[in-house]
């Protein structure tokens, strides 16, 4: 699938974008040149704040009113875009250039049926009649593989799932058969299984339509899976550019190498490797360092790097790097990303239990909406957590994975006591714990602490962060203020925050820093069990990596047990000693992290693993896809709950009978009808030691 000889669709030369701000002009994008050919998917990666979205908007002249293109040229096909009047530009938008946004629920008008929204594009830009446009809309819905396009076309946004909405946006964007399509993080808001399906669809469709695509993402795995070329942006400039094969095989810029090192690998865990982190922050466009803009954060920067800004040079055919030491990057790999550690074998298996949650059930009664309320007095019951048993050993991490809506967060909230479990028993160090937080004594409350997903909401915006961290200590009573201050300073040091941050308010901190404060606050109570509910998923890859390292380090130092909840399997693999795979309120596979990530898998685990976008185009992954979304927890399918989506369903037995638990070894069990030997025979490892598929 080479695109080398195809005609160029979009050509950008020396583009500068400037924002007018209160503090004077800010050059947000500087001197970018790029080419996107017909049928080529160009991936644009970089941390948040690197100017990816600004560049994309500038390419189609869709900047906010205070932004302007100050230098450079943009050519789309034969047209010089910068020469067009706003009126002519409007004809380009939506017809020759289209866009797919990150959050499909916001990009679709909630009060117009989705089919009509596609038809409208066809009428306006293709001049079709109502009937023709309607026909076109149905055709597009079929193209994006939506089941039953007729019925989908008549529905509104709230009646469709996130994955379906994203397909509708893609359908809308392709209706006019545009020359150039911008996709801005189109799968970031989706589950990993849905993401995999959408990525397959995008790749197939775009190669069919031969559209030139700019694909913005922060996920290098996604780039490796679908892009042809990739550009790595940093603080408004291009650091490295090349074909996927070139860039992933031989990184010629320390930033690219660093970004790749931040991503946890699914064949290694915290015992094998510390994740790489990029220290410091991305510079603001008005405070750029002299010389190479990446030098202050670069492990191999030398004096000369700080003197002069290196240009982007073509190192090999089509492979560009902005590092003066590009030739030495590969040799200095060890300096930039950490090596594997000598593994300290810890025998986890006979460590005593800390938490033993048995047969936890949580049901919510749903009030019926509308008229049906009058005719039925029996409320619908949502069985969010249905008989889940999970144990956490002392000093170990239990990871819980599953798609959204599988009940993992509800389970965690039951353990924390925010939700009172409908039935089941919770034991902490052998002692029964009351189900509701109101009935727990202060001393037991202290033993379980929580770190939430959203760092913005988890800190009181009006309290200086030092107060938030010190409060659990003050609650112990009989502690002098000076002792509290001392402990707070220690905690700040433990989470790598400067001590003078104590007086700052949360809004004066970055997302990663806020999450560090939240972790410090949780550790202040000196808990035995920490519940980590997606603590890193809203953050940048480099920040994720440093937080995961921090969590691993703190666990080692303090012996705290973690209950780590995430939909990011690579992160779970990295941090967890034990993993439970959850679907529709129940555990389907449980075992040590290594066992769960190797065959035999439960078919659901297999599908989840196969969906992970791995940041290495050389790895061939089995293509096992789950279609549709998780069924509603009101009407749970009979028999094996997974049978409606299971790619390995064996027959009616799956629909009628509850599958049995089969033990692979003392600690690894799978709940499936398929015998273990058969599962082992069918499945291949996701990533073996060498990272390549085994024959």
């Amino acid at each position: 699938m080479t695109t080398e000889n195809k005609p160029t669709v979009l050509e950008v030369k020396n583009l500068w974008v400037t924002y007018a701000t209160e503090n004077g002009p800010l050059d947000t994008v500087r001197n970018i040149s790029m080419k996107i050919r017909r049928g080529e998917i160009y991936g644009l990666v970089g941390e948040s704040g690197s100017g990816k979205t600004t560049l994309a908007r500038a390419l189609v002249r869709y900047l906010p009113s205070n932004g302007s293109i100050t230098k450079g040229t943009i050519t789309l096909g034969e047209t010089d875009l910068l020469a067009l009047s706003p009126r002519e530009m409007r004809k380009v938008w939506g017809a020759r250039v289209t866009m797919v946004h990150q959050d499909p629920s916001k990009a679709i008008n909630p009060s117009i049926p989705v089919g009509e929204q596609i038809a409208e594009v066809a009428r306006v830009h293709l001049g079709m009649s109502r009937a023709q446009a309607r026909h076109k809309a149905l055709e597009m819905l079929e193209k994006v593989q939506l089941p039953d396009p007729e019925s989908v076309a008549g529905r509104y946004a709230h009646q469709l799932s996130g994955g379906m909405l994203q397909r509708i946006l893609i359908a809308t964007a392709l209706t006019t058969n545009p020359q150039f399509l911008i996709m801005d993080e189109p799968t970031t808001a989706l589950d990993v299984t849905t993401e995999a399906v959408i990525l397959d669809l995008v790749r197939d469709l775009l190669h069919e339509y031969q559209t030139a695509v700019l694909y913005i993402t922060h996920n290098l795995g996604v780039v490796a899976r679908i892009c042809d070329r990739v550009g790595v942006m940093y603080a408004g400039e291009m650091m490295e550019e090349g074909s996927i094969q070139q860039v992933f095989k031989q990184e010629l810029h320390p930033y690219t190498l660093g970004l790749l090192g931040c991503v946890p690998r699914i064949d290694m865990c915290k015992l094998d490797i510390d994740l790489h982190t990029i220290p410091g922050f991305i510079p603001r466009p008005n405070a750029l360092p002299h010389g190479c803009i990446f030098a202050p954060r670069c492990a191999i920067a030398e004096e000369a790097c700080r003197q002069e800004r290196p240009p982007l040079v073509e190192v090999a055919e089509g492979h560009l790097s902005a590092c003066r030491r590009w030739a030495e990057v590969a040799d200095n790999m060890q300096k930039i990303v950490p090596l594997e550690k000598d593994r300290e074998e810890v025998d986890q298996q006979d460590v005593p239990l800390l938490l033993d949650a048995r047969n936890i059930e949580k049901q919510f009664k749903l009030r019926r909406q509308g008229l049906s309320n009058l005719f039925s007095w029996k409320p619908d019951v949502v069985r969010a957590v249905d008989n889940m048993s999970i144990r956490v050993r002392k000093g170990a991490t239990m990871g819980i994975v599953g798609e959204s809506g599988c009940g993992k967060t509800t389970f965690a909230r039951c353990i924390a006591g925010f939700e009172e479990a409908t039935s089941g028993d919770i034991f902490l160090e052998g002692e029964a714990l009351p189900r509701s937080i109101a009935q727990r004594s202060k001393s037991t409350l202290k033993k379980i602490q929580l770190v939430f997903q959203n760092p913005d909401a988890s800190l009181n915006p009006q309290h200086p962060v030092g107060v938030s961290v010190g409060r659990p200590l003050a609650l112990l009573g009989n502690v002098l203020q000076s002792e509290i201050d001392q402990r707070v300073r220690e905690l700040f040091e433990a989470v790598n925050l400067p001590a003078d941050y104590v007086n700052r308010l949360p809004h004066e901190l970055s997302g990663g820093e806020k999450q560090r404060v939240a972790i410090a606050r949780a550790f202040a109570a000196n808990p035995d069990l920490m519940i980590l509910d997606e603590p890193i998923s809203s953050l940048d890859v480099s920040v994720q990596a440093s937080l995961m390292n921090l969590l691993a380090e703190l666990q080692k130092a303090k012996g705290t047990s973690y209950l780590f909840i995430s939909h990011d399997l690579a992160a779970v693999r990295h941090l967890s000693d034990w993993i439970a795979v959850v679907y529709l309120g129940r555990v389907w596979e449980i075992g040590s992290a290594e066992d769960v990530f190797a065959p035999p898998y439960h078919p659901y685990t297999e599908a989840l693993l196969s969906a992970i976008p791995l940041p290495d185009p050389a790895i061939h992954q089995e293509r096992i896809r789950l279609h549709g979304s998780v069924p509603s927890a009101v009407n749970i399918p009979s028999g094996c709950r997974f049978h409606t989506r299971c790619p390995r369903k064996i027959g009616t037995i799956c629909e009628t009978e509850d599958p049995p638990w089969q033990n692979v070894n003392r600690f690894h069990s799978i709940c499936c009808h398929i015998p273990l030997e058969q599962l082992t025979a069918m499945q291949v490892p996701v990533a073996s030691e060498t990272g390549k598929e085994q024959p």
């Binding site: 922050f281 800190l459 009181n460 409060r471 440093s546």
Partner: protein, 291 residues
């Protein structure tokens, strides 16, 4: 473990940024200036008034503005400027303490209602709905008509009318805050309800409450003036702005200024307070907050 960040520079202080934001909106500055002038007027006005508000000078009645009588004289020859100056005290004390009382009561009820929820919430809020369903001026007239228009009664009526609005705003903010994770974190470490209400929630209610209070204040000024106009305000001989407008109607053909000056003053103050509350909103609630 990497040595994280060489400490990012601390953004400028909150107050400094608020001021900066305010400077971008001239209307806000004007609003604060107007309110400032009126407060000064209420404080020292009666001391610097050129005449006593009740001094009659029947020879010089219905005079237009002149260097002797800046705003002219009324039908009894009283100096309108002095009357407006003196009357400003009542406006601030009555509308101000009415608003203050409404804010305090509304804050209490709203916090209880939002935080406790359930039956308490239902009871309080349905009672508020009943109050809201009666036109405010009508309700005020009925009450004052029954109990008589003393200063204290007017204050009570003003606060009574505005408690529902304030408590609704507070309640919705509390409802939003209650589900935030920092409240859950507080429960998780065993804080009691008192701490959660007063230390975690209250500080976050204050900014939207300040905005609401300033808006209520401008409505109160209006209400007090309306009541005065209807004869249910502060009784003569006190120089009430609303009453001045009402009495001046008879003489409008002969001497329109005796109506226009007090009416203009009321409008000026109300607009000033409205600008100020808009500015407070921009300063305290950047990005907007539910409520």
């Amino acid at each position: 473990m990497e040595n994280i960040q060489s400490a990012r520079p601390l953004p400028t202080s909150r107050a400094a940024r608020s001021l900066k934001r305010m400077r971008r909106y001239p209307a806000t500055m004007i609003g604060f200036a107007i309110v400032g002038i009126f407060i000064l007027m209420a404080l020292i006005g009666p001391l610097i008034a050129p005449y006593k508000f009740s001094d009659q000078d029947l020879v010089n009645k219905l005079q237009p503005a002149s260097s002797e009588h800046w705003f002219g004289t009324d039908q009894f020859g009283r100096d309108i400027f002095s009357r407006i100056l003196t009357g400003s005290r009542d406006v601030f004390t009555i509308a101000g303490s009415g608003t203050l009382l409404a804010v305090l009561m509304g804050l209490t009820l709203g916090m209880l209602s939002g935080y406790l929820g359930g039956a308490v919430d239902e009871t309080i809020m349905r009672f508020m709905d009943v109050l809201l369903s009666i036109p405010p001026l009508l309700l005020a007239m009925i009450i004052l008509g029954t109990v008589g228009p003393s200063r204290l009664n007017i204050v009570l009526v003003v606060s009574f009318l505005y408690i529902p609005m304030v408590s609704r705003v507070v309640r919705s903010v509390v409802l939003d805050l209650k589900t935030r994770e920092f409240i859950e974190a507080a429960k998780m470490r065993g804080e009691n309800n008192g701490y959660i209400l007063f230390r975690e929630i209250l500080p976050n209610v204050l900014p939207p409450l300040a905005v609401e209070a300033s808006m209520r204040f401008s409505y109160s000024i209006f209400l007090v003036a309306s009541l005065g106009f209807l004869g249910l305000g502060v009784q003569p001989p006190s120089p009430d702005w609303g009453m001045m407008v009402s009495e001046a109607r008879t003489w409008f053909n002969l001497a329109p200024w005796i109506l226009l000056y007090p009416a203009g003053t009321i409008a000026f103050l109300v607009v000033g307070v409205a600008f100020m509350s808009d500015g407070l909103r921009r300063m305290l609630l950047p990005g907007g907050v539910s409520g």
